[in-house]
């Protein structure tokens, strides 16, 4: 709990201190947000080009292809080059995971909301916080720069399995592009670790008086668990990256066995040997599976907040929601091997990983049931944020259930590395997380910018996104069932995939609809920053602390550090009677009680 005898700094006045080297968590959150939105547009564009190639292999890409022909990923006729396709796949994944989803969830929402939700004036280490962003930005610039180096960006997939990634000659993009990729992620990793430590300290040490652990909003709990993941798992990724850098630049062979000979020309690879190829996969997934939870837990937190607020009902089973976050964290560290069932790993280890993977479905299931329990007997307001919150639940159910197929080792033999996997993780990361992100942005936009986004445009954006998303990604399950390999640029090459090609065309046009719908969002977002309707302090009639301070939030967040009297979701309670159906956390009027 914070002490109240505090010394406040005056708000910065220069442009540089206010917007560039700012230590204000709200400004840093916006820096993350704008950077990530740029990358969202870029990553989405890459996906559109991929989809064109998959539906119409080797035909000139409309617009982008003719603009960029002979450069980047395109031939002189504006078709996608085969290595260009591999690079598109790699960069789409890398950008969406590391430069869109994680920075928006943690960098933007975490930064903006944690201090507000716990009634603090800022995070525990504001300078460290600024440093996190200023490590993240160069990481993004390095990845972006890799588009322009000789042979283009990395092309070994976002998982960058060696030897493909480790040997410069193994693929166009495995030279300078891959080195930039590695350095970029090292910077990003440091940013992530600093952010995680900062958030942990902030949540543990700086909660307002009365804000006990069982009165924290679930989004804050989710950020707390995510921060533990970041702090404990990211160093392992960093070590993997540093080892690969050593293999590439210092002549070590940590991931390279001896006597590699490339291709039909038997080009000798100069490597001392003695390394193990699977070691990378173990170390990489030891981070990257928890990273999957970094990608979804804050989304779950946002969804919980949206659902309780717009269902006007307390979260069903708050403690179980927290417990399931914690058990996802515990189990999340011992399931990484399920990415490696066909890697050549010992089948007995595979069996163990299958069991832990099946079990991790349980806490996710409990969360779904509890969201449904929250909705049962509620009074639902279908606002734009709530539409996204409900979509999160609907789509996360599909993403969660489809995960069971790949958890089952024998079944995974067939669907591993097919579009089944692509469908699954897009249901989790797009259907789940990105819908939560959109919902969260519509919801907290008034707090961030002092204005409202247009609900009419918002609903249209939601509808088109929901339709386009499901049309594109549900169909991918069918491709996967047909055995369609992921990461092949030209499916029409294969006889056994021929009957699936009309689906590829359908998916592509659905993806174009999905992509086009995002223009509505971007337009609504940027137009509303300047032209949106002015927002009142609490437009949604919500309970958590951020709604007790003006919109946009003033520099010091709160005039006085609030005292908390109850849990975050006390809607429609007896305490709320007389004022409407909500009871702000800091309102002492009707006495204390955490309602759990």
């Amino acid at each position: 709990m914070t002490d109240t005898g505090e010394h406040l700094h005056a708000p910065p006045t220069t442009f540089f201190r206010k917007y560039v080297w700012s230590t204000d968590h709200k400004v840093i959150a916006k820096q993350y947000l704008f950077t990530a939105l740029f990358f969202l547009a870029l990553g989405g564009l890459l996906a559109m080009v991929m989809r064109w190639q998959l539906a119409y292999p080797n035909q000139t890409v409309p617009v982008i292809g003719s603009l960029l022909k002979g450069s980047a990923f395109f031939t002189d006729q504006g078709q996608v080059r085969p290595e260009g396709y591999n690079q598109l796949v790699t960069m789409h994944g890398t950008i969406m995971i590391f430069f869109v989803i994680i920075p928006i969830l943690v960098g933007a929402f975490g930064n903006f909301l944690i201090p507000l939700h716990i009634g603090a004036r800022d995070v525990a280490f504001p300078i460290l916080n600024a440093l996190s962003y200023w490590l993240f930005l160069p990481a993004g610039l390095l990845i972006f720069a890799s588009f322009f180096v000789k042979d283009g960006p990395a092309a070994a997939g976002w998982t960058s399995y060696p030897p493909l990634s480790a040997i410069a000659e193994a693929a166009p993009g495995s030279g300078t592009g891959q080195v930039l990729w590695l350095f970029s992620l090292v910077l990003l990793g440091f940013s992530s670790i600093l952010g995680g430590l900062n958030f942990l300290t902030t949540i543990i040490k700086m909660r307002a008086p009365g804000l006990t652990w069982d009165r924290l909003p679930l989004i804050t709990w989710a950020q707390f668990v995510t921060a533990i993941f970041q702090t404990l798992a990211t160093p392992v990724l960093a070590s993997a990256l540093v080892m690969m850098i050593a293999d590439k630049l210092l002549g070590t062979s940590i991931f390279l066995p001896a006597n590699l000979r490339l291709g039909t020309g038997d080009v000798v690879v100069e490597a001392a040997g003695g390394g193990a190829v699977l070691l990378w996969q173990h170390v990489f997934w030891f981070y990257s599976h928890p990273a999957v939870y970094i990608l979804i837990l804050p989304g779950m937190g946002i969804a919980s907040d949206l659902i309780a607020t717009f269902a006007r009902k307390p979260i069903f089973g708050y403690k179980a929601m927290v417990a399931s976050l914690a058990s996802i964290m515990g189990l999340g560290f011992i399931v990484w091997g399920h990415h490696m069932f066909v890697s050549g790993m010992n089948p007995y280890i595979g069996m163990a990983f299958m069991t832990s993977t099946m079990l991790i479905a349980l806490p996710s299931g409990v969360k779904v049931f509890n969201w449904l329990g929250t909705l049962w007997g509620s009074s639902i307001r279908f606002t734009v944020p709530m539409l996204h919150g409900l979509s999160f639940v609907a789509l996360f159910i599909i993403g969660g259930l489809s995960g069971l197929f790949m958890a089952a080792t024998p079944v995974d033999i067939f669907i591993h590395d097919t579009y089944y996997i692509v469908a699954h993780f897009h249901y989790v990361v797009f259907g789940g997380t990105l819908f939560a992100v959109f919902g969260g942005l519509y919801y907290w936009f008034p707090k961030m910018f002092g204005r409202m986004m247009s609900p009419a445009l918002g609903k249209l954006h939601w509808l088109l996104t929901f339709v386009g998303f499901n049309a594109a990604f549900f169909t991918m399950h069918i491709l996967g069932e047909g055995g369609h390999m992921r990461r092949i640029s030209t499916p029409t090459e294969y006889e056994f995939l021929a009957s699936l090609q009309p689906l590829n065309v359908f998916i592509t046009w659905s993806a174009f609809l999905l992509g086009a719908a995002q223009i509505l969002f971007f337009w609504n977002f940027f137009w509303s920053i300047w032209r949106g309707k002015k927002a009142e302090p609490n437009p949604w009639k919500a309970n958590t602390l951020e709604w007790t301070t003006p919109s946009p939030v003033p520099f010091h967040n709160y005039d006085r550090i609030p005292t908390v009297y109850r849990g975050p979701y006390e809607y429609s309670s007896a305490e709320a009677d007389g004022r409407g159906d909500w009871a702000p956390q800091d309102d002492p009027a009707r006495g204390a009680g955490n309602g759990h």
Binding site: Y161, L262, G263, D266, L359, I380, F382, I398, A408, S572
Partner: protein, 361 residues
């Protein structure tokens, strides 16, 4: 407490689930969906039925949860004067929906066990199987068979690029090692997928129990059991070689790459009026017009991104009756006896035997 809202949740989920369970199970019995034909009767069918089993469980859970979600959205939409029911949940409901799925998940995990170990751990003995070495590289599949001496690493070894031959109905064991990057040996119709990794040997076993044939009248692939194959008149390539597609007595397999859309494949008739036709255990040169079918193949793909032309790493698996398979090996042996070791053998010596003699055993 309003009347039994808790039991209502429970009731609806259970009712929804059980209402759906029966038709789903019934529909699932014959489910083929978009799965490629399964030719591996040793375990392919088990993979498929485990898939269907999970599909049923998932379908029930899907309809139940999405159903409740939809129901709530309609039933509990905000109405003037209506107020949400204030509640923090129910321990009983939570216990119910933690324990029941917990058991289902554990049961699902255990149900995979036998199939998994049969596929990945219990290999048929080498003596009862055909052992093939697989050495993929960017961007081609290479195969090696022991020569007449039955041992790998001799001058009489038979090597192939891109085409793998296996006899129908016999266990096949592969020993695999990549000489460059990770590839993944994927036989969609055999339910086989295994990464092939440099620096270590991976193995996989399977059995091909039906023979893919191209039905010339229907213009599509059919899969024949050995007996059925015997009864039909099937054009075959009795002297398979790397260039068998150009054999003048063979039906040539050709593909057309259209400017747009899907590549189409078809057989063109042999250059001569005669073809080698297999019927009732005999292969004879007969008028090509007698052929009902052409011995076809299934595809081999690489499922792991392996570089520039990963998408082109396409191979063929030829499944044939054992006599034809033997005849193919004998033809190769004759070729070796006459002209010396196959050209590719040097590459196997330099890349496999030199570093991984232990994989030859």
């Amino acid at each position: 407490m309003p009347p039994t809202w808790r039991t209502r949740i429970r009731g609806s989920i259970l009712a929804g689930a059980s209402l759906l369970a029966l038709p789903t199970v019934a529909a699932a019995q014959g489910y083929r969906g978009w799965l490629p034909e399964n030719l591996n009767e040793a375990y392919g069918g088990r993979i498929d039925s485990l898939y269907v089993m999970i599909l049923v469980v998932v379908a029930v859970a899907f309809v139940a949860t999405e159903g409740v979600l939809l129901y709530c959205c309609v039933r509990y939409r905000a109405k003037p004067g209506a107020k949400a029911h204030y509640s923090h949940g129910s321990k009983k409901a939570e216990l119910f929906w933690s324990i029941l799925p917990g058991f289902v998940l554990l049961w699902l995990a255990l149900a995979q066990r036998d199939a998994w170990f049969d596929i990945r751990d219990r290999f048929p003995a080498d003596s009862e199987s055909v052992v093939v070495q697989v050495m993929p590289e960017q961007f081609q599949w290479n195969f090696r068979y022991p020569g007449a001496d039955g041992k790998f690493g001799g001058e009489d070894d038979v090597t192939m690029n891109g085409v793998m031959h296996v006899p129908v109905g016999k266990p096949i064991v592969t020993r695999m090692n990549s000489k460059d990057v990770i590839h993944s040996f994927f036989l969609p119709h055999l339910r086989v997928k295994q990464d092939v990794v440099p620096g270590m040997m991976t193995r996989v076993w399977f059995q091909a129990d039906r023979i893919p044939c191209w039905d010339l009248r229907e213009g599509k692939v059919v899969y024949l059991g050995p007996q059925e194959f015997d009864q039909r008149r099937v054009a075959v390539h009795p002297e398979w070689g790397d260039d068998y597609l150009n054999d003048e007595f063979s039906f040539g397999w050709e593909d057309e790459i259209p400017v747009t859309g899907v590549k189409t494949y078809r057989y063109k008739p042999p250059l001569t009026e005669q073809a080698w036709i297999h019927h009732e255990g005999k292969v004879e040169r007969r008028p090509a017009s007698e052929a009902e079918m052409v011995l076809h193949h299934v595809e081999i793909a690489c499922a792991e991104l392996c570089g520039l032309n990963h998408w082109q790493m396409r191979g063929m698996l030829v499944i044939e009756p054992e006599p034809l398979y033997r005849r193919w090996l004998e033809t190769k042996a004759k070729e070796i006896a006459e002209f010396g070791p196959l050209a590719d053998l040097d590459r196997w010596k330099n890349n496999w035997d030199a570093f991984h003699a232990e994989y030859n055993r």
